[in-house]
């Protein structure tokens, strides 16, 4: 049994529709009209969020009394907290569940007034009998404690006791590095301007420095997990997102490598690939190096083909891609290399490979003596103990020379320069909080969600098996939609699987307004790095 919430028209009249998928023909019955719905909403509000448990108990009793077929029971199914949001649509999905875009209803509703956008990440129960997924627990635990301009802000946590699902509400970020890079590569065919690259990198490091100084390793940094705020107060500010793999490393009860293989292989540090047991915050810095290079060239730096079904983190092709660019690691330069399991036993004869001429500078098109190249090569240092830290990187010469990094990374670097209009996130407006596609309920809600899970689980492994010609395009068929669902497993997940997309219109408007803001910004904020000690 399931139910669905439909949004109709600008005033968001909500109809509760009870779906009984077990019945032949999947009858859809409209139960409550807008008027009585409004009354119901009023009643819920007076009940308050605290009484959700009581409410669901009442609902269960009501449901039992009426043989679970009564629409009114379905009406009480809506948790009270849901009333504070207006659902816009689905913006992504991953192994954990779904991500929605919603708007907080304004306190004093008026025509044309819209509340702030919120991204709502819905977690399904991980497995039958396992309760709240450890991923959700980690994310809640960490985000509830931390507070930084460059880290995504958890604004609320909600629970729907009826179906045991958990919702995390975040400040919504319109862009992410994956989409920004893709836009430059595929639409503009032009590099990202140096001011933007530097500002993005600086803010990323600033957020990471905060995390690391609080003993948190992110462990899954990649362009799609690094969000960038759209128009508004925080325009062009980076938010590090997706803490589902993050760990506090001060006093782990188990070896850090214990809970499975982490980090998407393209951004995975060599010590992880070689089986290090107690890795450090340096793994995040490696990922930042890879992302820095990708911002410069618009292509992932090390696109290894992932070996499927390996229980350990060893990835031969990924290591080979790294060695080709950076040269072979040596025990002289990286003493602890000798102790790493996969180097030591050398079953795949990686020790024998020899790549003599490191060609990093050719790939990123930077002079070897430039500060940018110096910083990049320090991030891509083989030995994790010698790799530059976030704190050190923030002090690097690169950030002290023109153009200086700024708070709004998306501003043009020169007053006369053209502003890049990045596309807004595609929103699938046909999906509701249940993950059900409205109007055409072709399958039971649970089936739908399960499908989402299995697709994304298998995809990270399959995807790199495709012939690698640059980056996969997202627009095309089912494979790519699935790729997105997988690689974007964060709140940055972009492409709703298999569903035709509707592009929003917000991104194309108001260039004048933006320019004005830009000018002010430049005047008030002449040197961002000088202010950074405030943080």
């Amino acid at each position: 049994m399931g139910w669905a919430v439909f949004l109709l028209g600008p005033n968001c009249i909500i109809l509760l529709v009870h779906i009984t998928p077990t019945l032949p023909g999947r009858s859809v019955r409209i139960v409550t009209g807008p008027t009585s719905q409004a009354k119901q909403a009023e009643r819920h509000r007076s009940v308050g969020g605290e009484d959700d448990g009581e409410e669901s108990r009442r609902r269960r009793q009501a449901g039992a009394a009426s043989g679970m077929g009564d629409g009114r029971a379905g009406g009480a199914n809506r948790p009270a907290w849901l009333q504070q949001y207006e659902l816009v649509g689905k913006i992504g999905e991953g192994t954990y569940g779904l991500v929605f875009l919603a708007r907080l209803k304004p306190a004093h509703p008026a025509p044309g007034r819209r509340g702030p956008p919120i991204a709502i990440k819905k977690f399904k129960q991980s497995k039958e009998g396992d309760g709240v997924s450890p991923t959700a627990i980690r994310e809640i635990m960490l985000l509830r404690e931390i507070n930084h301009e460059n880290v995504v802000k958890l604004v609320n946590v909600h629970i729907n006791h009826a179906d045991m699902s958990l919702y995390l509400a975040f400040d919504y970020a319109e862009h992410d590095l994956y989409e920004i890079i893709r836009h430059h590569r595929e639409k503009l065919n032009a590099p990202i301007n140096p001011y933007t690259v530097k500002s993005l990198l600086w803010q990323l490091l600033n957020g990471l420095n905060y995390l690391h100084s609080n003993w948190i390793i992110h462990r899954d940094l990649k362009p799609s997990n690094i969000l960038v705020m759209g128009e508004g107060e925080e325009h062009g500010i980076i938010k590090i997102a997706d803490f589902g793999l993050a760990r506090i490393y001060q006093a782990p009860l188990k070896a850090l490598c214990d809970n499975g293989v982490v980090v998407t292989i393209w951004y995975r540090a060599p010590e992880l690939l070689l089986g290090a047991k107690h890795y450090t915050s340096a793994v995040d810095m490696w990922a930042v190096g890879c992302i820095f290079a990708e911002l410069l060239t618009l292509k992932p730096l090390f696109q290894g083909v992932e070996a499927k079904n390996t229980p350990n983190p060893f990835q031969l092709d990924q290591l080979d891609k790294i060695f080709k660019v950076l040269g072979h690691p040596t025990v002289e330069k990286w003493p602890t290399l000798a102790n790493l399991p996969w180097w030591q036993n050398d079953q795949q004869h990686i020790q024998g490979h020899k790549y003599e001429n490191p060609g990093l500078h050719n790939i990123v098109h930077l002079p070897q003596k430039s500060p940018a190249f110096d910083l990049l090569s320090k991030m891509l240092e083989y030995d994790p103990r010698k790799r530059i830290t976030a704190a050190q990187a923030l002090e690097h010469e690169y950030f002290r020379m023109d153009p200086l990094p700024g708070r709004n990374a998306l501003l043009p670097s020169q007053p006369g320069e053209k502003i890049v209009q990045y596309p807004v996130r595609p929103v699938d407006t046909t999906t509701d909080f249940e993950g059900t596609t409205s109007l055409q309920p072709t399958q039971p809600p649970s089936g739908n969600a399960a499908q989402g899970q299995s697709v994304s689980r298998s995809m990270p492994r399959q995807m790199p098996q495709q012939p690698m010609v640059g980056m996969p395009r997202v627009a095309a068929g089912t494979n790519m939609a699935a790729f997105n669902a997988a690689s974007q497993a964060g709140m940055a997940g972009l492409n709703p699987g298999n569903i035709p997309m509707q592009r929003g219109t917000g991104g194309q408007s108001h260039p004048h307004q933006l320019r004005r803001k830009a000018d002010q910004g430049m005047m008030q904020n002449p040197g961002y790095p000088q202010q950074k000690r405030r943080f």
Partner: protein, 260 residues
């Protein structure tokens, strides 16, 4: 946060002793006295500890679970949140938070094994009950899950004082005793650690006076915590194997509503 107690949610949530001891209205109406309220908390902390021995989790997981348990009852009543269900669920949630997950299935199995027969079936719950309570627990804890404990500061302080030979003895404090009290909800963990050192050095005739002076902490608080711990020993004289006697606990638990 994870490194800095002073900016943590734990620090911000520290309470006054009076607030911690307050019996929730719903429980007062059922005739539960402050003393009985305290007894149930001691008893259930012991229950968590015993259950943890069965499923074999580390000390820190137990400490976090007991802290959750005690925090819940500064906000919720025992009438509404059955302590016999909240206790194992706290252990379940704490095991996830401390990255050493115990399956709900296992907990249910060991509860039944531990609380064998007869009247003890009031402790029995099914997996579904624990999973439902897990969500209510998250809510009741206001989603604040990071807890600091006295263990780490205790070791550091013992080292600093140069009395690591007292480790074994002082360690008993946080390991077994302090979590039977509400200290963790009231005082910063390092103050609890200092009280444990204070007691240990007094009982073992170690002169730590000058070391304590150099620390520049409020010695009145340290002494107060120490007195509370010693009082607790005197008052309850808990059997380390069996916990509180059943005839003390059952009448109190019987005041709570029966399982639905």
């Amino acid at each position: 946060m994870a490194a800095n107690f002073w900016t943590s949610s734990h620090c911000k949530q520290l309470l006054d002793p009076e607030d911690v001891e307050l019996v929730p209205a719903a429980d007062r109406e059922r005739g539960i006295t402050p003393e009985e309220f305290r007894l149930v908390k001691i008893h259930m902390s012991f229950h968590i500890w015993r259950l943890a021995q069965q499923v074999k989790v580390r000390q820190r997981v137990i400490a976090t679970a007991v802290t959750y348990f005690r925090r819940v009852y500064t906000r919720k009543s025992m009438s509404e949140y059955d302590p016999r269900l909240v206790a194992p669920t706290c252990l379940y949630l704490a095991s996830k938070v401390e990255e050493s997950t115990v399956q709900a299935r296992l907990l249910v199995f060991y509860i039944k094994k531990m609380c064998g027969t007869g009247s003890d079936d009031k402790y029995w719950f099914e997996i579904k009950d624990i999973l439902e309570m897990e969500m209510k627990l998250l809510e009741a804890l206001d989603y604040y899950l990071v807890v600091f404990h006295p263990y780490r500061p205790l070791l550091q302080l013992l080292q600093d004082a140069g009395i690591t030979d007292l480790t074994q003895f002082a360690w008993q404090g946080p390991r077994e005793d302090t979590y039977k009290m509400d200290l963790i909800l009231i005082y910063p963990p390092y103050m609890i650690a200092l009280a444990c050192i204070y007691i240990a050095s007094a009982l073992k005739d170690k002169d730590t006076t000058s070391w304590f002076e150099e620390l520049r902490v409020d010695m009145n608080i340290v002494k107060n915590i120490s007195m509370e711990i010693l009082d607790f020993y005197d008052t309850y004289k808990i059997d380390p194997q069996r916990g509180l006697p059943d005839d003390k606990i059952s009448p109190v638990l019987n005041k709570l509503p029966a399982k639905p």
